[in-house]
């Protein structure tokens, strides 16, 4: 069953590791080439030069650059991300707290988008050229061209300000006693319902655009698939049109969509920066923005490092997934 050899996998892992080391080096160089230092946020105007030097010493910034680099490489590989000068907590605490929130929101968006997009793409690709195809395709393209924050504002205005139906900020009710009465205690079910209620608007905003990407891929691939021999064969066997479309055509067309979804996970943080800010959603996107704006180098470094690692891991998973989804693809086997 295995279509990927152990040797290939080992090579792939080594290359990925080296890629991560290169990315770490680039991160270090980029952040250290920025003017100034993050200790400026801790300086007070009446500090003497000697006191500033002591502050640098406390943060290891007086060490030679090569030593700072070695420390950084070693620490990161042992999972030590240091301390955030801006938030005054270990960087890992920030990531640990914020990452799950982003994963919940964008995970839900990814799942919703990849449920709707391929389904719509399948129908449009199958019925390509029809009036319905053209109108939905055009509508999708228009949605795809709109900035996500603009859609988000529009939905906030409509569903939150005008209709007062959905909350437009936070991940859950902040002071539940005010809403549900004194002595209120959260139960698991209520907490889940509350989170879903708060997720509705950002999820809606993101999905309004998010489904289009997978729809476009699916539509194109479906059109190619409909002309394949095995589809003609399925039809010739007398199978229903619906069965041919779903079981024979769509199943094969899903391969690029599925692998695209895997890499799409790595870009979750990318989209989070804008949307989390619009919805006051305390996730990784906000953390990136805050740490960059406040010269919080340790946090910035760690977040971008995690993003890089996530991307590299997703690429490996994508390769492996290819071999399972498409029997024609084999990695690392001797050519016969």
């Amino acid at each position: 069953m295995t279509r990927i050899s152990a040797k290939y996998l080992a090579q792939r892992l080594i290359i990925s590791y080296l890629t991560i080391l290169v990315i770490m080096t680039l991160l270090f160089v980029l952040l250290h080439s920025m003017p100034g230092s993050f200790i400026q946020t801790m300086q007070s105007p009446d500090m003497t030069g000697e006191q500033i030097e002591r502050l640098k010493e406390q943060w290891g910034l007086n060490e030679p650059l090569w030593k700072q680099y070695v420390d950084f490489m070693v620490n990161y590989q042992t999972g030590e991300f240091g301390w955030s000068p801006h938030w005054n907590v270990p960087v890992w605490n920030l990531i640990e707290r914020r990452l799950p929130r982003t994963v919940i929101l964008f995970g839900a968006t990814t799942i919703t988008g990849f449920m709707i997009g391929p389904l719509v793409g399948m129908y449009l690709g199958w019925w390509r050229g029809t009036k319905r195809d053209r109108s939905i395709f055009t509508g999708g393209l228009i949605a795809y061209s709109l900035p996500s924050f603009w859609i988000a504002w529009l939905f906030i205005w409509l569903f939150s300000f005008e209709l007062d139906l959905l909350p437009a900020k936070y991940m859950r009710t902040q002071f539940p006693q005010e809403v549900y009465g004194t002595g209120f205690e959260w139960t698991a079910m209520m907490a889940m319902r509350d989170v879903l209620w708060h997720l509705a608007l950002p999820l809606l905003s993101l999905t309004a655009i998010g489904w289009v990407g997978s729809m476009l891929i699916m539509r194109t691939v479906m059109q190619n698939v409909t002309e394949q021999d095995y589809v003609f064969l399925a039809r010739a066997k007398g199978l229903s049109e619906r069965k041919v479309m779903i079981k024979h055509a769509a199943r094969n067309a899903l391969i690029p969509v599925a692998t695209g979804a895997i890499v799409g996970i790595a870009f979750i943080l990318d989209g989070a920066v804008v949307i989390e800010n619009v919805f006051n959603y305390p996730g990784m996107g906000n953390l990136i923005l805050d740490s960059v704006l406040n010269n919080d180098h340790p946090t910035t470094q760690a977040v971008f490092f995690m993003l890089a690692v996530l991307l590299v891991i997703c690429r490996i998973i994508q390769d492996i997934a290819y071999t399972y989804l498409d029997p024609r693809i084999k990695f690392g086997e001797e050519e016969s």
Binding site: Q43, Q58, H86, V89
Partner: protein, 676 residues
């Protein structure tokens, strides 16, 4: 007092924290037309013992009439950055921490006098020796928020712990203390100082007082993450931190009637507009936001009672229309300014800088762009800190005395500068040095105090002639400025470069920038504007000092002139490029004080170590006026602070004080109460 951020958008936050309490009790006098000024100035002459209130006072009647209970909900436009009092300098953190932190001395939010708090009285001796001894008595009968007694042991532990750990935030405060020990005379505690610090009563006596029983097992202060680990204990008016979600919200329960004796002190009782006997509310809730727009919307929707900051020009109409919300008027605790690089020709010349100041159209800025919500600027400390302003020391009207208008916009007709007049001013070579006279058609009465500019002659010769610069040719200008016979591009290798923020961060300021640079161009000065993001600007200006002129938007200033002046205008904090260019971030990028032609180092240094507050305030006021004449900065505005608060349901807001909704917001937490 701890360093505070501003709430003028993210660009202004975290950068210029000049409320580090290393200053003296400046006496702020309420401005004309504003309530809140205290006429009964009772300055505390340093070097003498302060009025003694050794015993904890009984609650006074006043507080008994005030309704108790209720919850005030406050918005913060950013989440707090940790709740460790030794490491965080975020104002958003201190909005919560302030409930748990009382200090040895307190700053009167109305007068900025240093007043008793956890220390009942204090004195300083041996000032002449250069190594003064500070003594104080610790107030009895106080308890920490967890109910444990507070005493001398906690005080000694706090000093020694902070001196040992050296947290960056308090480094400059503990550095001059050589020893903190139990006094061997009638006083409780003795601080041995290595050098005199003029503002000792508001710096060395305002270190955080840590509960020994909670901190003695903490090997490194950074390990402590109060709030995160569920515990936050201090000496303030809070009962406990009942909720803390570091990214979204917090709730602080306040102590009950009589449980916090420090609001029953005589100085609070003596105030007309401070309530003794507080806190009066049950709970203060905080909601944290990522954007000011969302926060403002929540205020209008009724989800907030107030927020940290003040209303911006773009939001003020909406807030005014809301019947639930009232606007608490206050004074600015910061300034809006431009700064010149005194290392570069012709910015090294007082005459050139003054001419540029006269091209700034303050009417366009204050009335058209800011809709009269700002005052025209002058000195480098805002009117909220009136006691150290020159007008106070010359018995002149704050902000309106003609001596504060030396660089008014010189116009021929509304909005059109007096180009010929300013050209003549440059060609004639007579700067405003403090002597009375008429300059470009406007009378200047002379300096308010006995001060004059660093030089009374210009450094360069100015003339106007044929236009050579492309910038001016493109604009159809008929004359170009020549400095010592050369155009500015011939001297600098390029036109004057004006560093500014991206327009979207401050559209009004960008319009004002455009107006000013156009005025310079029409005068004959080739100018180009270069947009820089905030972080890039910080590097260019503070690390490399690579600029001609820049603006930093709005900056928070310390109530204590000495630390502001030393930080911003002393040569110790300037990179002297004549010897070596370093990338150290120093707060005086202009280089004021580095050169003979602009500086006031001697007076600024003397003021720092002057322990008599009256003399010190006078020296600060003189320095302010000298800096105004030398013009390394052009201060172009002070905000007329409008702090929105739910005045329908709550009362007790302090009108007329400096920064009521930001630096002084905490004072409201023990004053505000439900409407009767």
């Amino acid at each position: 007092m701890p360093g505070r951020e501003t709430n003028r958008g993210k660009l202004d936050t975290d950068r210029r924290r000049f409320l580090m309490g290393t200053g003296a009790g400046a006496l702020a006098v309420g401005m004309a037309g504003c309530t809140g000024g205290d006429d009964d100035e009772t300055d505390t002459p340093t070097g003498e013992s302060t009025p003694t209130e050794t015993a904890t006072p009984e609650p006074v009647d006043e507080g008994e009439d005030v309704p108790r209970g209720g919850t005030l909900t406050v918005g913060l436009s950013q989440p707090p950055k940790g709740l460790n009092p030794l490491s965080t300098s975020s104002s958003y953190s201190w909005m919560i921490l302030d409930h748990f932190m009382s200090y040895g001395t307190a700053l009167d939010p109305v007068t900025y006098e240093v007043q008793p708090s956890a220390y009942a009285d204090w004195t300083v001796e041996n000032v002449e020796s250069g190594e003064p001894d500070i003594y104080f008595n610790v107030r009895e009968g106080l308890t920490f928020t967890d109910g444990e007694d507070f005493g001398i042991d906690d005080v000694l532990f706090s000093y020694n712990y902070i001196m040992d750990q050296e947290p960056g935030r308090y480094l400059s405060t503990v550095d001059p203390i050589s020893e903190a020990s139990e006094a061997d005379n009638d006083w409780d505690v003795h601080l041995s100082m290595e050098k005199p610090i003029g503002t000792w009563d508001s710096s060395q006596l305002q270190l955080p007082l840590l509960p020994k029983h909670r901190w003695e097992s903490v090997d490194s202060f950074e390990q402590k993450t109060p709030g995160e680990d569920g515990e936050l204990v201090g000496l303030g008016w809070a009962a406990d931190l009942s909720q803390f979600e570091s990214d979204t919200s917090a709730a602080v329960n306040l102590r009950n009637d009589g449980e916090y004796p420090l609001t029953n002190l005589q100085w609070i009782e003596d105030h007309d507009n401070l309530r003794s006997g507080g806190p009066f509310l049950d709970t203060i809730q905080f909601r944290f936001y990522q954007s000011e727009a969302t926060m403002n919307q929540d205020l209008l929707d009724g989800a907030l009672d107030t927020y940290y900051g003040s209303v911006s020009v773009s939001q003020i109409d909406q807030v005014r229309e809301d019947n639930r919300i009232g606007l608490v008027q206050g004074q600015d605790d910061g300034i809006s300014y431009f700064a010149y690089n005194l290392r570069r020709t012709p910015f090294d010349d007082i005459l050139f800088r003054q001419a540029l100041n006269m091209l700034w159209d303050e009417i366009y800025w204050t009335q058209r762009l800011q809709r009269d919500l700002v005052h025209d600027g002058d000195f480098v400390l805002p009117p909220g800190y009136a006691a150290i302003r020159p007008e106070t020391h010359a018995d002149a009207d704050l902000l309106t005395d003609p001596a504060t208008d030396a660089y008014n916009f010189r116009e021929d007709s509304p909005g059109v500068p007096s180009y010929e007049g300013i050209r003549s001013f440059l060609e004639n070579g007579t700067p405003i040095t403090g002597e009375s006279g008429t300059f470009v058609g406007q009378d200047y009465p002379g300096a308010l105090q006995d001060v004059s500019a660093s030089v009374n002659e210009p450094l360069h010769d100015y003339s106007f002639g044929e236009v050579k610069s492309d910038v001016l040719k493109e604009e159809g200008v008929d004359k170009e400025l020549y400095v010592n016979g050369q155009t500015i591009p011939e001297i600098l290798g390029r036109p004057v470069t004006y560093l500014m923020y991206p327009p979207e961060t401050s559209p009004e300021l960008t319009q004002a920038d455009e107006n000013w640079s156009q005025n310079m161009i029409q005068l004959g000065i080739p100018v180009e504007r270069e947009v820089q993001t905030f972080n890039s600007l910080i590097g260019r200006v503070y690390a490399q000092e690579d600029f001609d002129l820049y603006h930093m938007g709005w900056s928070n200033m310390s109530a204590f002139g000495t630390s502001t002046l030393y930080g911003l205008f002393h040569s110790d904090n300037a990179d002297d490029h004549r010897e070596e260019q370093t990338d150290t971030l120093l707060n005086n990028p202009m280089g004021y004080g580095v050169f003979d032609y602009a500086g006031d180092d001697e007076r600024i240094s003397s003021a720092r170590t002057e322990m008599d507050s009256e003399k010190r305030n006078s020296m600060v006021a003189q320095s302010l006026e000298k800096i105004y004449l030398d013009s390394p900065y052009m201060v172009f505005g002070y905000d007329k602070v409008q702090w929105p608060a739910n005045t329908t349901d709550f009362a007790g807001f302090l009108q007329g004080i400096a920064a009521p909704g930001s630096s002084n917001l905490s004072s409201h937490f023990y004053n505000v109460h439900q409407q009767e």
